[in-house]
Symmetry: C2
Subunit: 450 residues, 2 copies
């Protein structure tokens, strides 16, 4: 079975040397760690039920997915944020060349892309999966309206071409689903968008693509056990190092997979880490403006883009390498151009070997420059390890939230922009907000340049 | 003609209010700004010649591109970093649905992706364009060896399937090009990788895709004139605000396009900003560890991923919006589900309108939270505006480098990783580095968790 190995040696201990966290720093944080363990043991967190408590649902999802694969050529997720990032990350990780359905995630409202994708679909062979818990997300509802409009225009029944993933009974989408008789999958009340990949939000798209969702959940369940331990707990350790880091100026968390298949894990991580921990107030209501900015990178590519900054720029980063031990395919570098001595060392080696040497070299260069890093190794990229990895970061985020004493699961800062959008779009009831916006000081022409 | 508008009102002046830079801060920086102008006027910077001094080359590139479009179905760039990010950004921006060639950029050595892409090519109908100035880049040379190996295996002549973009005469690739009789395009001596998009590095791929490279260069030339002004100079202003920002703790520069077409401009920007400004020492040789970390985002998508952090988290960011005034295509949101009052405001509006309202609302939310932003508006996304935008950021980077008193054009921090890779791959001559690496302290098992 595939497994994950977490190596913190380049952030703590003798190997890390002066670039790492000291024993004293870890000791000082011990009480914070214990309190976080206590909180994780005592607080009910909806996402922790997901790996094991969904048996009935799984059968439904697998049957539904099987039907879709048989009857449709295209499966189009309409969603944004947590409703899109998980499905994208899992698809990128597990994509197989022999996939028998075209999979799209429309995670934006860019008109050019929408026109291109929607215009290219054979609607009769297309199933849309609209995902929003509240049904209040303007972007997703607008996409749904566009999809419904297209279907109606050609006389196709909505209930054969749209599946809703939403709240059990509340909200605009739940209502539409009832009125139109849409097949509906439920996002549990106590699971927020960015922790929802192991609900139908992520499970239906994954099953439609043919990925083994039971293995994903087994990976998550096993990781839950690992991350519930009081000792030798990688999620708690990951959180601890990042939280100590934040407090001493490591304001940036770089996610650096060395595998194209894990590229969008960084995007998914960027949401869960940013939205969960970026908070103005702590649980006591004090202003803390905490958070750590996630940066998405990709090895080896970004060695030629970001590593100069990471090694020589401000010492404000902690870096997480994602390493793959065995790739599902490999390719040898042939012994071409034998007359050029300088490149002869590459001939006869595998690309996987070169990629891993680059990763190892970058780890070393960062260490030499005094920049701490963590390495997570996946023995292979499969449904099990992907489920485990996602769940690991969910647990690490929850631990970090407890250590920071904040509400990990809300997102109050998103509200202002939503209200302003409603005001600008002339939604009834938002006239006051519109007036407030109109009352802003005039722009100064001196600061507009052409 | 399309044009660019730079609006700094949400970072300075009355509109910005307390979230912006103060008049005093700007006054204090006046001498730094003047010195940067003087330096830009007096220093020879190779990239500034590119918009106007390449007439002979353009004819060659256009002819070559025309031949390729006629004779081949696939055009595959082999390159990494500066050799890939520009071609990708321009392609994403200007992509037209009626493109008559398949365009690939292999910018990594991931074995799964390489096997997939290389395995899917009809080699007889494929032209590779290998791009590396020195011919020392292991990733690119390994890709070239793989491509050559495949071609030789099926008996196809290299000189009909590989074009080299490299140094005029030095380096491994120049030598291979001579030996194999490859068509060669030259990267000028005095232009480094991340400033090379307007050399053959970017111009050939763009021309092959059918984009108007002369319009790109006109956009760049016009922008050069704008960014050479002593007053009302958007590049100098952009640099000034970012450099003042760095000095007062704005350690992160977020690039936030509201258009999928500009998504990879962020990746391109991330390289030029990170590698150019992330430097350990200044020109006087003093340790400064300067730099600002670029973060790639995309609107409206990342409102549901990053904006919570940007508004409520640490006040350590300056945000640049890229706005598009007129999209090349648009789509209306139909009045579907009329029985749901809550979404009725969306019906009958264009997606472009919703997207722009979201952008405007986010700008407002950031302002309210006290986070400075800059908005660059492209009247439309076309070859001219893309050339102008790329060149704008090149100029802004050069100005910022002068203000920081560093060498904008080198990348000494990349060296360590390259040497370590050579050592790990057993390249002759790097035995000492290997010994140094092997002498690291042993890892502690306590910090490895499974």
């Amino acid at each position: 079975m595939s497994k994950l190995i977490f190596d913190f040696n380049n952030a703590v201990g003798k190997t890390a040397g002066p670039c790492g966290f000291s024993e004293k720093e870890l000791e000082d944080a011990q009480r914070m760690l214990e309190a976080a363990h206590d909180a994780m043991d005592s607080k009910a967190m909806g996402f922790r039920r997901l790996p094991t408590a969904q048996d009935d649902l799984l059968a439904d999802i697998e049957t539904t997915a099987g039907d879709i694969r048989q009857r449709y050529d295209n499966f189009v997720v309409l969603g944004i944020g947590g409703s899109a990032l998980g499905p994208i990350a899992v698809h990128q990780a597990l994509f197989a060349d022999d996939a028998d359905i075209n999979f799209f995630v429309e995670d934006n409202i860019d008109p050019v892309r929408l026109a291109r994708v929607f215009g290219g679909l054979d609607l009769g062979k297309t199933m849309f999966n609209v995902i929003t818990k509240s049904g209040k997300t303007s972007e997703t509802m607008a996409q749904l309206m566009a999809a419904a409009g297209m279907l109606q225009e050609v006389g196709l029944p909505l209930d054969e071409h749209i599946i809703a993933t939403t709240d059990k009974q509340n909200g605009n989408l739940a209502r539409i689903a009832r009125e139109e008789g849409l097949k509906t999958l439920v996002i549990p009340d106590d699971v927020g968008g960015r922790f929802s990949e192991l609900t139908p939000v992520g499970l239906l798209p994954a099953a439609v693509c043919g990925y083994d969702i039971r293995a994903m959940l087994r990976g998550a369940a096993d990781m839950d056990a690992i991350c519930a331990r009081r000792e030798n707990n990688p999620a708690a350790t990951y959180a601890l190092l990042h939280v100590i880091g934040m407090k001493k100026g490591l304001s940036i968390s770089v996610m650096l997979p060395y595998a194209d298949s894990l590229k969008y894990m960084s995007d998914w991580y960027a949401q869960i880490w940013a939205e969960s921990l970026g908070k103005r107030t702590n649980l006591a209501g004090e202003e803390v403006f905490c958070g750590q900015t996630p940066v998405k990178a990709l090895g080896a590519t970004d060695q030629h883009s970001q590593i100069q900054l990471y090694t020589e720029g401000p010492a404000d980063k902690i870096i997480t390498f994602l390493r793959v031990e065995t790739f599902s395919r490999d390719l040898d570098i042939p012994k071409a151009f034998a007359y050029v001595d300088d490149i002869a060392f590459l001939g006869g080696r595998a690309f996987s070997e070169l990629l891993d040497a680059e990763r190892s070299a970058t780890e070393y260069a960062l260490l030499r420059a005094g920049r701490p890093s963590i390495t997570i190794t996946l023995s292979e990229v499969d449904a099990y390890s992907v489920g485990a990895l996602l769940y690991f970061f969910e647990m690490a985020t929850a631990y970090a939230g407890e250590m920071l004493d904040i509400n990990t699961f809300d997102q109050p800062g998103v509200e202002e922009g939503k209200l302003a959008t409603f005001a600008l779009m002339g939604k009834p009831g938002f006239e006051e907000k519109k007036a407030e916006m109109d009352a802003r000081p005039q722009k100064d022409e001196a600061w507009i340049m052409e």
